[in-house]
């Protein structure tokens, strides 16, 4: 009896405890939910989107579906000549694309890979309406007026006869594209090129269904009188680049929906049909800039450490009321606009600037050998070390505050020289601060943009400057995203190495 009672009592108690624990957990979850959602929306999703853009390449196959499908089975090499049929598919793809202005977008996408494709597509888009399709639409609708109405084509597109498969398919793609780009309305008329496709289908085979027979009987005589359009000639007349295997090779290479091309470009390789190839020496850029970014970030971190450590030590050992005053001096530049500080460095460092003027005035250097302190790596390192210094001093200071002076005193009283006492007792205890400060400064500097842009000249710019160029100027967002992803990967890899070597638990902000 007693046993059962206590069991019930324990059970209900257990349940109560569990319930209150659950409520506590939910409350905690509710408290972090805003931050969690914020991070998800402002951080995880954009970064995911960026990673995706660096491999995404759907545009080419979406706009040129027939052409890319046909190219799949082609072996393109030096002596290859584009067959007539290819131009037929290209004609239909481009005729649809021009109506919704997608051809130039594909053109600029492919121009990143092969110079000249942009204007090739733009030019072709302008002349494709003059390939002779209007003769077809005129003659056919004269013979069969209902062809001029979109309703007839709607009916046609609902048919099932195998013979008109290509016309149906073309009409549906055309309609889908117009609707997707808000060009479709009640008043839309069938485009000229659709008549060419229809005529082609009618000619292609024997009459195979009684339903279509009347249409074909009517149209066949007209069609046989119309001149055949030589699409290959038309395209080559517009621009002889269409005969270049290189152009087709590029289209073929960038047909798949996903590509590693952006990543290859960001490490100075070029995607080719026979595998990636390294670019010629005068076009290699990104590996150099990546290594420069790393080098400068490490240097800036070291400079900050060398300058910041004594300052933090000095601050930590000062009585509190003075320490606060000096801390304000450290923080003061921190509260000034970044642009103002960077511009101030320009005034100080330039050739005719304050520092050079003083050096010349004091006779340390002659007027003709003024120091090059800006528009190069030196300028970037000086200005950025200054800007990032507080990020080193503050964690160092707060860690050093916690090191009790009695430890060093004890070491000294046990016979250690001041240097040994510092090296063996004080310094090891300040390492968590060094770790925290270094990580902060390094990670901030590796992605810095505005200061290197202003004072970096040609040799002192970071990879972020190239990323900014591709995002805002060249519009090559894929390449910008690939460069950004690589930068992210490098930072994560370094963080991992740091964790293995020093241990991330060994980092303290205070």
């Amino acid at each position: 009896m007693v046993n059962v009672d206590s069991l019930v009592g324990r059970n209900s108690l257990h349940r109560k405890v569990q319930r209150s624990l659950r409520i506590q957990k939910l409350r905690a979850l509710g408290l972090i939910a805003p931050l969690f959602i914020f991070i998800l929306i402002s951080f995880v999703i954009p970064i995911g989107d960026m990673l995706f853009r660096s491999i995404e390449n759907q545009l080419v196959s979406e706009v040129l579906p027939r052409t890319t499908e046909y190219l799949k089975s082609e072996q393109i090499n030096e002596g290859w000549e584009p067959p007539d049929e290819l131009f037929w598919h290209l004609y239909i793809d481009l005729a649809i694309a021009t109506e919704v202005k997608l051809h130039t977008r594909v053109g600029s996408r492919l121009n990143y890979e092969k110079t000249g494709i942009s204007s090739l597509f733009r030019k072709t888009g302008r002349s494709i309406k003059k390939f002779g399709a209007d003769d077809y639409s005129k003659a056919l609708s004269e013979q069969m007026p209902e062809l001029a109405s979109i309703d007839y084509w709607e009916l046609l597109s609902q048919g099932t006869s195998e013979k008109y498969g290509y016309t149906r398919d073309t009409y549906n793609t055309w309609k889908k594209n117009l609707i997707a780009n808000d060009h479709w309305s009640e008043k839309t008329k069938p485009s000229d090129f659709l008549f060419v496709v229809l005529a082609n289908d009618i000619k292609s085979q024997e009459i195979d269904s009684s339903l279509d027979a009347s249409r074909e009987e009517k149209l066949l005589p007209v069609i046989s009188e119309l001149p055949e359009i030589g699409f290959k000639e038309r395209f080559l007349d517009t621009d002889e680049d269409w005969a270049e295997p290189d152009v087709w090779d590029t289209i073929q290479l960038y047909s798949p929906s996903f590509t590693n091309g952006y990543y290859l470009n960001s490490v100075d390789f070029k995607k080719g049909s026979d595998g990636p190839k390294i670019r010629p020496e005068n076009e290699r850029l990104y590996v150099l800039i990546f290594s420069r970014t790393l080098f400068m970030s490490v240097t800036i971190t070291l400079v900050c450490l060398l300058l910041g450590y004594p300052v933090a030590y000095f601050l930590a050992n000062l009585p509190l009321k003075y320490a606060n005053l000096f801390l304000i001096l450290v923080l003061l530049p921190f509260w000034t606009s970044l642009l103002v500080r960077t511009s101030a460095w320009k005034v100080l460092l330039q050739n005719e600037g304050v520092i050079n003027d003083i050096l010349v005035a004091t006779g340390l250097i002659s007027n003709l050998e003024r120091l090059e302190l800006i528009n190069n790596q030196t300028g970037t390192i000086i200005a950025m070390s200054h800007i990032l210094l507080p990020f080193m001093i503050l964690p160092l200071f707060s860690v050093m505050k916690t090191i009790h002076p009695s430890y060093v005193r004890a070491a000294k009283s046990l016979g250690a020289t001041p240097w040994t006492a510092f090296r063996r007792v004080y310094f090891p205890q300040s390492i968590p601060g060094i770790g925290a400060g270094s990580i902060l400064v390094f990670i901030l500097s590796i992605g810095y943009y505005i200061t290197p842009e202003l004072v970096g000249g040609t040799t002192g710019t970071f990879i972020s400057n190239r990323i900014a160029y591709h995002i805002s100027s060249s519009l090559n967002w894929g390449l910008g995203a690939a460069l950004g992803s690589i930068l992210l990967a490098v930072v994560l890899a370094l963080y991992w190495v740091y964790d293995r070597m020093v241990g991330i638990d060994n980092v303290k902000l205070g």
Binding site: V100, S108, N111, G116, E283, L285, S472
Partner: protein
């Protein structure tokens, strides 16, 4: 009592906002003196004529292409009219972000009836581009350089002559213009430059020419850099837009002169973003029609030394609004200045920009 007053006020405001045809137009431009010239010459007069329309000025033209593209992806267009250089206009047109327009249909003809397409002539470089001004990128130099022994450069190739004209030069940190000048001074005829630049050897040749002065170049990326450096004596020679030189020489009164030789003619104008709702588009079209008529473009030259893109406006160019000097001699197209003009090839650069920029940056970084 108080509450009723307040609510009446709020209701009144809502009523006013709804009843009238008030509309806010966001017009994007470059900021600085250029925006001011636009505001004075046509935005303010337009708002005076149409009191229910308020023009909001945004200074984001430098990032216009990227921002318009981002707006499309977000499906939220917040701009109504954008000032852009032709290179950007071509890009926006290609991307389908700018509207194709028929200038004869949407713009005023010249006072004598000449259709707009003829009046604007060569400045119509893209189907989406509505020109406003002609400006030029050219060189300026300090007139008080001792080591030049009283000589003044009169040829663009003096930029490459370190012996006669020693000192630092500032050039724009991009291949455009610099490659052309380099080839021009390497002995290539003006009309062959783009043909030569298309070849690998031509590109290397241009870079090799630039190599001869590379150590003495400071690269600029903002139009204000060169004037600042010239004023500080940081450089003795430098390229920038002619309007910047005008401000430096006439307003700041610095000892600087413009070298008009081989100035590169460029245009600037409007693009209308695609996807505007019909009522807004109608107002934007009306504003553009007003802002690009012959008188308005001539008025703009009162505030900045950029030439009107319309031929018919040139005769109407008067004096500077505050300095009171004749503006015509300061225009890039004035006969005294336009004795040797280089026409920028937009189509060519639309193709080669990415490729050459990569090569140029690789050259710079090494």
């Amino acid at each position: 009592m108080k509450l009723t007053k307040l609510s009446t006020l709020v209701l009144g405001c809502i009523f006013i906002a709804n009843s009238s045809q008030a509309m806010d137009l966001t017009v994007v431009s470059w900021g600085g003196a250029y925006s001011k010239s636009q505001i004075n010459a046509y935005h303010d007069p337009y708002m005076e004529l149409n009191p229910d329309i308020t023009i909001i000025h945004d200074e984001s033209s430098a990032e216009a292409v990227a921002k318009l593209r981002a707006m499309r992806e977000a499906g939220n267009l917040t701009w109504d009219l954008v000032d852009a250089v032709p290179a950007d206009a071509i890009r926006l047109c290609d991307e389908g972000l700018a509207m194709e327009v028929d200038v004869d249909e949407i713009l005023e003809p010249a006072p004598d009836g000449t259709p707009a397409s003829e009046d604007f002539g060569a400045s119509l470089v893209s189907e989406c581009f509505i020109p406003q001004i002609v400006y030029s990128t050219t060189f300026g130099f300090r007139t008080d350089v001792e080591s030049w022994n009283g000589n003044e450069p009169d040829d663009v190739c003096d930029v490459f002559d370190l012996e006669a004209f020693p000192g630092k030069r500032s050039l724009e940190k991009r291949p455009i213009n610099n490659m052309e000048w380099a080839l021009l001074c390497d002995g290539v005829a003006k009309e062959d430059i783009y043909d030569v630049l298309e070849t690998e050897e031509g590109q290397n040749r241009a870079l090799a020419k630039l190599d001869t002065i590379k150590d003495d170049i400071i690269w600029w990326s903002a139009g204000a850099d060169t004037p600042q450096w010239l004023a500080d004596g940081e450089v003795v020679f430098g390229s920038t837009y002619n309007g910047r030189f005008f401000a430096l020489i006439e307003e700041e009164e610095q000892p600087v002169k413009i070298l008009w030789d081989a100035q590169v003619f460029e245009y600037d104008g409007w693009i209308i973003p695609t996807g505007l709702p019909e009522d807004r588009l109608a107002v934007v079209m009306d504003l553009v029609r007003f802002a690009t008529d012959t008188q308005r473009l001539a008025d703009q030259a009162k505030y900045i030394s950029y030439g009107p893109a319309r031929a018919s406006s040139n005769a109407l160019v008067g004096q500077h609004a505050t300095l009171g000097i004749d503006m015509a001699p300061h225009m890039p197209g004035h006969p005294d200045n336009a004795y040797n003009v280089f026409y920028f090839n937009y189509d060519w650069w639309a193709d080669y920009r990415d490729d050459l920029d990569a090569k140029f940056q690789a050259w710079l970084a090494n």
